[in-house]
Subunit: 259 residues, 2 copies
DNA sequence: AAGATATTGAACATAAATAAACATTAAGCA
DNA sequence: TGCTTAATGTTTATTTATGTTCAATATCTT
């Protein structure tokens, strides 16, 4: 309405923030005419604000980034290899049986599994806040929550008490994600995450690894398992044939889902 | 209802998601006329959302994927005396100090406190999923999550392990809610809830009860505390003067917030 | 079960939005 | 003043979202 004064840069972005806070969503056109600047400028503004985590840009405009709720904000769909992760998750969910007791890891790919849970009675144990949110209203799911200090970077609890609590369960299957897999060195993660995952795997009849192809060939300091420690590895069709062979040679079942 | 001015792409799909979350099922016709787009566009939207696992398309429309149903006693309670609860929560939040270690009960009124948390560093311990969600992204909050089986009717964990975990903390203040308060008999709740609340109160320097006026004069089987076990009781101006006097006579600080 | 009606998806067409590269302007400052 | 930098505008090819037509298919009606 009133842009009498020439607004520029940060000041304009603050106004944009005010607008999007009210309306939840804004369009490029609407903003460019309101501030009498070019579409390109608005687009640049929106991208800056997206970098700052304020909003999510999409074709035509942007939407306020809502703080909580894994799926309610669609930031997740901006995850790399989202489509691949969805198909991996879909495949993984098919491995669930009636009365299973399953562990669901704090991982975006594993989280997607909650979307494809079959209508079977299962017990879900998790330390992931997003998984809790998704399972809380699912009448088929018996949900158990692991304690500890919440870490925003993992989206869940992760400390000694988390591990102790989780060690008290016996799982029929554990669904694990990872950021780093190397068919020679094995699967790696952070110190505490490794400890927890190892505890889980010790207490699980089956360990299933969900990992998209982009994670292959990378590793960090601490290893939580070798390839052969998993019963099944589920990945997408982007996997390198060499890695595929390496996994099969180690006698591990490999499931490749096309995205 | 609809000033859906030129909603496009993702933004429209978000709205579709909101709609289907409420109604469980949507039709193509209904959506295409509501958003003033062609049927084909809606169909494409629905297919994208099906691919993402959000819903299942069928002839004529789509249905929410998640087996929803019981959209829960806990969510329903959010309605009664909402304004009163908000002002009670706002008052309660003012009792928080820098570096406090506080317990937040699974209760709708206590949950509302998370909206009014002052910009002070606090440690929040909770067994309430909603509290977790609200606090997870609050940079001032150090969040600790209590374990156990999740009960949809309480919106949080509530079992022996929950109690054991919570007993390990020392709180500067505990913020508790209740459904039943009687100035003569005391404050009552379910068996397990009582056990947990008592454990909390034993380990807390201060116990603060948040209760709107509609809860007075009611009681159930098990008591978790007498009026005088609380340092402060916060309620709204609808409280009966008799109850007000009864509380003050027992030497308990009473805070009445106008709604 | 057969015919009537409505819904669908595929192929194509079109308009709009985008990112990238480059041009221009404004602003600070030695 | 002239130099430098940051912000904005412009032009381009490319991508994306949406609309349209039509044959195939599903659902309803009797």
């Amino acid at each position: 309405m009133d842009q009498n004064t020439e607004i520029t840069g940060i000041a304009r972005r603050e106004k944009i923030y005010d607008t999007i806070k009210e309306n939840t969503t804004v369009t490029v056109k609407e903003l460019s005419s309101r501030f009498a600047v070019s579409d390109m400028t608005i687009r640049r503004d929106l991208h800056i604000m997206e970098e700052q985590g304020i909003l999510t840009v999409h074709y035509g405009g942007a939407t306020l980034r809502r703080p909580s709720m894994a799926f309610h904000s669609f930031d997740m769909r901006k995850e790399d290899f989202y489509a691949e992760k969805v198909s991996i998750a879909r495949c993984a969910a098919e491995l669930i049986h009636e009365n299973d007791v399953i562990y669901l890891d704090p991982s975006t790919t594993v989280l997607l599994m909650t979307r494809f849970l079959p209508p079977l009675h299962v017990t879900v144990v998790t330390s992931s806040l997003s998984v809790m949110e998704e399972c809380a209203h699912n009448p088929y799911v018996n949900l158990f929550i692991a304690p500890g200090k919440y870490h925003a970077e993992y989206g869940g609890t992760m400390d000694a008490e988390t591990m102790t609590y989780l060690s008290g369960f016996h799982f029929t299957s554990a669904f694990l994600g990872t950021g780093f897999i190397d068919t020679v060195y094995g699967v790696t993660s952070t110190e505490i995450d490794c400890s927890i995952k190892q505890a889980i795997m010790r207490n699980s009849e089956k360990s299933i690894l969900l990992v998209d192809h982009s994670k292959f060939g990378h590793r960090v300091m601490k290893k939580f398992g070798d390839i052969r420690d998993f019963n099944t590895i589920i990945t997408d069709s982007g996997i390198d044939p060499k890695d595929e062979r390496a996994i099969l040679q180690q006698g591990v079942k490999l499931q490749i889902c096309d995205s």
